[in-house]
Symmetry: C2
Subunit: 181 residues, 2 copies
C-alpha cells in the first residue's frame, strides 16, 4: 500500500473519527515488543481534551501491555486493510509479531513509546488516565494526546463490524442542519 | 412511516447491533413524562448478558431521568428517520414532548417503564447496573434485559455521525473469514 505523509489532526475534532464506530487497530508495546489487536468496543467520553473509553479483554495479550505501560495507539484502518484486520483479530500476539506477519509498517509515536501503524489513515496516541473499571469491566479510560491523519483521504471507507466476520463499509454521507457538535 | 411487527431478538446477538456504531435514540421517562435524546457515545462492554456503556452529559435532560429511574431504552433508527434524529438532537426535553413534536409512536416496554420508539428498527430495554463513573465521566453501565427487532429490515441503513450534522449512511457489507464473534 502506498505510504502517505500524515499531518497533525486537531484534538478537538478527534470525536469525528471515533463517533461513527469504525473497527480500529490498537497497538501497544512492552519491553521492545509491539502488538496489535482489532477492536470495535470503544466510545468517546469527552470532546477536548478527547477522552475515549475502550474495552480490552483480559484474554487479549494487549490487556497486559496496556495495564503495564498505560499507553496505546488507536489506529483507524479503511476497507483496503480489511483482510489484515480480520487476520489480526484471529491471531494472538502471544506468539506472533503482527507487524511482521501482516506486513504493516511501525512508525514511532511522538508522545508514546508505542508504534503507529503507518498504513492506517488515522493514528491516535493515547495514555491511560483511569483504569478503575479495568478489573471489573475490562474498561480503560484514555486521553488522546496526539492525533495524525492522512490528509489525502477525504472520504475514508472505514469498516464497521456486524458480527461473525461481516463488515459494513462506510457508505455515502448526508448533511443535515445540526446546531450541535 | 409504516409500522412493523417487532419480534424478540436474542440477547446474545445484541452486540451486532451496537458494534457498528450507529447513532441511537435513547428514551427515558419519569413521573409519566417521556424524553428522547440522540447519542453516538456508546460501547459494548460484554456479550451475554449484553452490557453496554453510554455517555449522557449532565447538560441533557435525560441525565436526571436516567439517574433517578435507572432505566432507558436504546432505539436504533435508520436513515429514513435522519431528519427526526437531528431534530431530537437540537431540541431540549425540558420544554418539549419529543414523541409528539417528531410524530413518533411510544410503545410500552416489557421490563422497563420507558416507551420504545416504534419507528426505530430495533429497541433495547436497559437497566442501569453501575453508575460509579456517572459523576466524573457521565458514564453509565447498562444491562440490556430485552431486545426487539423488525425482522423485515435485513439490511438496516443505520446512520453514523461524522460531526457537525454530517452522517455516513451504512453502505454495502462484506464477509471475511473470522474465527471469532
Amino acid at each position: 500500500m502506498k505510504k502517505a505523509m500524515k499531518k497533525l489532526f486537531p484534538l478537538s475534532k478527534v470525536y469525528s473519527l471515533l463517533e461513527p464506530g469504525p473497527v480500529v487497530l490498537v497497538s501497544t508495546a512492552r519491553k521492545g515488543r509491539a502488538n496489535i489487536m482489532a477492536m470495535s468496543w470503544q466510545t468517546m467520553i469527552d470532546f477536548e481534551p478527547p477522552i475515549v473509553g475502550i474495552v480490552v479483554s483480559e484474554r487479549n495479550h494487549s490487556f497486559g501491555n496496556l495495564k503495564a505501560t498505560k499507553q496505546c495507539v488507536i489506529n483507524i484502518p479503511t476497507v483496503e486493510l480489511a483482510a489484515e484486520v480480520v487476520g489480526i483479530g484471529n491471531t494472538s500476539g502471544r506468539k506472533v509479531d503482527k507487524f511482521q506477519k501482516f506486513h504493516l509498517t511501525p512508525m514511532p509515536g511522538k508522545l508514546v513509546d508505542v508504534p503507529l501503524i503507518d498504513e492506517c489513515y488515522a493514528n491516535l496516541e493515547c495514555k491511560v488516565i483511569d483504569a478503575k473499571l479495568a478489573t471489573k469491566y475490562n474498561f480503560f479510560i484514555l486521553e488522546v494526546v496526539k492525533a495524525w491523519i492522512d490528509p489525502a483521504k477525504k472520504h475514508p471507507r472505514t469498516i464497521h463490524h456486524l458480527g461473525s466476520g461481516v463488515f459494513m463499509v462506510a457508505g455515502k454521507t448526508i448533511k443535515l442542519a445540526s446546531t450541535k457538535k
